[in-house]
């Protein structure tokens, strides 16, 4: 049992990438708030934007809007635009009212939107000003989740990158490991147990569950990306002296093994010990995946761009489930972070970056894959054309990382096909 390492073949490393520009059927970065606010339990996300932004959050968050959520929108009104009201004063008033209502909030993000970016409302200065005003109780930061700058999961990247300069400096003698990317608590705990068994003493998650427990960073810090969409965050961490550990992303038995192995190697963990520790989880993952393999092997799959998870997921489906990726679309291709992933994709795969949705749908209709992974705006229309789909957003909201989720992850792709076979109507 050898941990999977990138094979000595080029895969898609050098393949040309199809870049198209046209209508993009994607979410903006504001959507990241929906899972980020669940993760950091004393943070509030205040979008400064329009009614459209509020409507987007409400549509995307579904019923979560009612559980006294820790996000909201300061809706820019006509009088703000006409200069009748000073936007900064208005914002201060909204923030004061909000913090009075929710004194438990320790970290407030002012989240920029397309309207606030276009009118050039300086939220970073507003955040600095308000931080002084509310010093001692609430820290106020800002980032942009606007559609003109960010696509879906890039909202998390922007948010975490904004947090990096605020992280305490690591003064410990011993190097620490930082897991970067918001993961469901259950997954985070699983990884924490594995790293502890491996013998890594100082392992932190970023973001932490509470604003005052954010991990320290310094030249000794090695970090492992848990998500493929964290380009800015990685750069900000590197600016603070931390070093990225290059790895596959932890999807499937092989991906998770490789991811853990990269960390183990970086910290000089004994190879035999590593294998012993991960063996049970790896075996469980393989057994759980096998359940879906008969159904998925040989099936052709196309990913439309959505979250940047497409390439690692296509790698998992191709290598561990025997699927055949036809086209793998991504909103943005971070070549350096995905180098190992690209090398493992079958050479015939078409990699596309960006989107002209009508042309891309023409390609889907021409190639008629067995499964199309796409957004909710496209899924039902494609189903009505007889194409089986897997809606992509679930892949961001569900626990899919690590050994013990590998079976669930495979099942997410198998279920639409199983359903297609089971229905006699």
């Amino acid at each position: 049992m050898t941990p999977a390492l990138p094979a000595e073949r080029p895969g898609c490393s050098a393949a040309p990438v199809l870049r198209q520009r046209g209508q993009r059927e994607v979410f903006c970065g504001l959507t990241g708030i929906i899972w980020l606010h669940r993760k950091v339990q004393d943070a509030f996300f205040l979008v400064v934007g329009s009614r459209t932004c509020a409507h987007l959050l409400q549509s995307a968050a579904g019923v979560m809007v009612f559980a006294e959520p820790r996000f909201g929108t300061a809706i820019i009104e006509e009088r703000d635009l006409a200069g009748l009201a000073d936007c900064n004063e208005e914002l201060d008033r909204v923030v004061d009212r909000l913090l009075a209502r929710r004194p438990d909030i320790k970290l407030l993000f002012l989240v920029g939107s397309c309207p606030s970016e276009v009118i050039k409302l300086d939220l970073s200065r507003a955040a600095a000003r308000l931080s002084v005003k509310h010093a001692g109780t609430t820290r106020i930061l800002n980032y942009s989740g606007s559609g003109i700058e960010t696509t879906f999961t890039e909202g998390e990247d922007a948010c975490l990158a904004a947090l990096v300069p605020e992280l305490p400096t690591d003064t410990a003698d011993q190097p620490g490991l930082m897991i970067v990317g918001a993961l469901p608590d259950v997954v985070e705990d699983q990884f924490a147990r594995l790293f502890a068994e491996l013998g890594l003493a100082r392992v932190h998650s970023f973001p932490a569950r509470r604003a005052d427990a954010m991990p320290p960073v310094g030249p000794g810090t090695r970090f492992l990306l848990a998500q493929p969409f964290l380009g800015e965050t990685a750069r900000a961490l590197e600016d603070r002296g931390a070093t990225r550990i290059d790895a596959l992303f932890p999807f499937g038995a092989e991906g998770t093994t490789a991811w853990l192995h990269a960390a183990a190697q970086a910290f000089g963990i004994d190879e035999m010990h590593f294998r012993r520790v991960i063996a049970p989880g790896r075996e469980r993952a393989k057994r759980a995946i096998a359940h879906s393999r008969t159904l998925l092997a040989g099936k052709r799959v196309t990913f439309l761009p959505d979250s940047q998870l497409e390439i690692p997921l296509a790698r998992f489906l191709a290598n561990e489930l025997g699927m055949v990726p036809v086209e793998v679309g991504t909103p943005y291709l971070h070549r350096r972070h995905l180098a190992q992933e690209l090398a493992l994709l079958p050479r015939e795969t078409l990699i596309s970056e960006g989107q002209d949705v009508d042309l891309q749908l023409d390609r889907v209709r021409a190639s008629r894959p067995d499964l199309t992974v796409c957004g909710l705006g496209l899924a039902n229309p494609l189903e009505a054309e007889g194409l089986t789909t897997k809606w992509a957003i679930e892949l961001v909201f569900s626990p899919i990382h690590g050994f013990d989720q590998a079976g669930d992850l495979a099942e997410l792709f198998a279920r639409p096909l199983r359903r297609r076979d089971v229905l006699k109507i």
């Binding site: 979410f27 903006c28 409507h55 809706i75 909710l376 496209l378 039902n380």
Partner: protein, 503 residues
């Protein structure tokens, strides 16, 4: 700036999308940043449409800002026309594009597209979804019907105006009203915008009169058609048994036909008179929604089910005047607000026994453990049902009766819960049998005041009161105690208060 968590209405361009999606052969080119395509999923998921909404977005990004975006818009419009070959096109800007001032109207005019093009001016920072839908429909009607010469047929005919995509029960209301008109011998000339083509809009003048089915959407267009073609407008909204009878009378008079053929076909009057419904008498109901549905619901609630209307409100200011008039009719304070926290406060203060509202009120009611039924948009996917379930007409009245009565603890069960409350099947934790969505433990208890001043004995007695009226009992007792300056609430205070507030 306004702090918002929940909005009852989307931005006005979503209203325009509802018109474009409802129609055949109309394509909407929307100048909007990347991300605004989220609105597509309202149609594909909530309404479960099997087609993409006929909307092309320019989805500009930061790097496009500057001169580029105007070209981007023209390219998107050109490509959309080539691909979809629409019979008419809508062009407009979303909130961000409104700020960058590219002027879709001018840009598209310069392109000379070979189809009618309506350039929409939808002020995103002032107006909302319903207004956007009404304005879009009006502009389309004006563009396509102006200058046409009406050809009236021998058989009386009407247009049904207002149903859209993403409308609350619009699909079935149209079926119900069409059937009603058919039985009266009246032909439907055009139903619009739902299912209509631009060519259909061009023959709106052929009808003898118009039925303004949803004033929020159709009122502006109906007024224009009155002026343009001298068509009368039927303004009674046929929600409820009585309103449907009035509607039939109004339509029959306008068309010169006999109304007798269709009257009295709803089960609601007998169901409501039957003794099983006696316990409904005087149930205190709070009503909130769009003005049209709220006003109609109030009439049904009081006159046809025997409830007491204790609150009435709407979120769309455009129809505030109508709502205020209706509120006077019921002697209640009108609540006109789009802030759900205000609605929540009102519900908490009034402690109704039933809430009729939108998706939002459903959640408020769930938190406060008050029965609730949905009567108006915005609604979630479960209120776009597979089964036939109109709100309008006689079948609609049947649907209303069932929908509103089911969430209430049924007469017999209400007694059982009181009589046998110490039995485990009937204990608070069991709840009512038909309210079994989740165990009570998951439900947040009604945020009544902390039990200050309650004696242990009174507190225990309070627990013997069924959960669905306990909040009210506690509030009433505390209010009674405050008014009389009583510091310690005893068993006596509890029952004195009960006597005081007894109806």
């Amino acid at each position: 700036m306004q702090l918002t968590v929940w909005t009852y209405e989307g931005p006005p361009h979503v209203g325009a999308m509802r018109i474009a999606t409802a129609m055949d052969g109309v394509h909407y080119v929307l100048h909007a940043p990347q991300g605004d395509t989220y609105a597509d999923l309202l149609f594909t998921m909530i309404e479960r449409r099997g087609k993409r909404p006929p909307v092309t977005y320019t989805t500009f990004q930061a790097r496009d800002l500057g001169k580029d975006t105007a070209e981007l818009f023209q390219k998107a419009a050109r490509d959309a026309f080539a691909r979809f070959a629409p019979a008419a096109m809508l062009v407009g800007a979303s909130c961000t594009a409104e700020l960058i001032q590219d002027d879709p109207a001018g840009l598209v005019e310069a392109m000379n597209l070979p189809c009618p093009v309506v350039a929409l001016e939808l002020p995103s920072y002032q107006r909302k979804e319903n207004w956007g839908a009404a304005e879009t429909f009006y502009q389309l009607v004006r563009k396509l019907a102006a200058g046409t010469t009406p050809a009236r047929g021998a058989r009386p005919s009407a247009n049904i105006l207002g149903p859209t995509a993403l409308g609350f029960r619009h699909r079935d209301d149209v079926i119900e009203i069409t059937r009603l008109l058919d039985r009266l011998g009246i032909a439907v000339n055009v139903t619009a915008p739902l299912g209509a083509s631009p060519a259909d809009l061009a023959r709106l003048g052929d009808a003898d009169f118009n039925i303004c089915l949803y004033p929020e959407i159709a009122d502006t267009a109906c007024r224009w058609l009155e002026r343009q073609f001298g068509q009368k407008t039927v303004r009674t909204v046929p929600i409820g048994h009585g309103a449907t009878c009035d509607f039939v009378a109004e339509v029959a008079a306008l068309a010169g036909v006999d109304a007798g053929a269709v009257l009295d076909t709803s089960n609601l009057p007998w169901w409501s008179r039957s003794v099983d419904s006696t316990y409904l008498t005087g149930k205190r109901v709070f009503i909130f929604g769009d003005a049209t549905h709220a006003i109609a619901a109030a009439r049904v609630a009081r006159d046809e089910l025997g409830f007491t209307v204790v609150g009435l409100g709407c979120y769309n200011r455009e129809f505030a005047r109508d709502l205020r008039e209706a509120a006077r009719l019921y002697g209640v304070e009108p609540l006109i607000t789009d802030d759900y926290l205000e609605v929540e406060e009102a519900i908490q203060a009034l402690q109704p026994e039933l809430v009729l509202g939108t998706q939002m009120e459903r959640h408020i009611a769930k938190r406060l453990r008050i029965p609730c039924a949905v009567i108006s948009a915005p609604v979630h996917v479960q209120d776009f049902p597979a089964r036939y379930s109109p709100q309008m007409g006689f079948e609609g009245a049947n649907v209303l009766f069932d929908t509103w009565v089911h969430p209430l603890v049924m007469g017999l069960e209400e007694h059982l819960l009181t009589m046998f409350r110490d039995d485990f099947e009937f204990s608070d934790h069991a709840g009512a049998s038909h309210l079994g969505h989740g165990t009570p433990a998951e439900i947040v208890a009604a945020p009544v005041q902390a039990a200050s001043g309650w004696s242990a004995e009174a507190e225990r007695e309070l627990l013997k009161i069924p959960f669905f009226v306990r909040g009210k009992a506690r509030r009433n007792t505390e209010r009674y105690a405050t008014e009389l300056g009583i510091a310690a609430i005893t068993l006596e205070t509890l029952y004195d208060a009960k006597a005081h507030y007894a109806r």
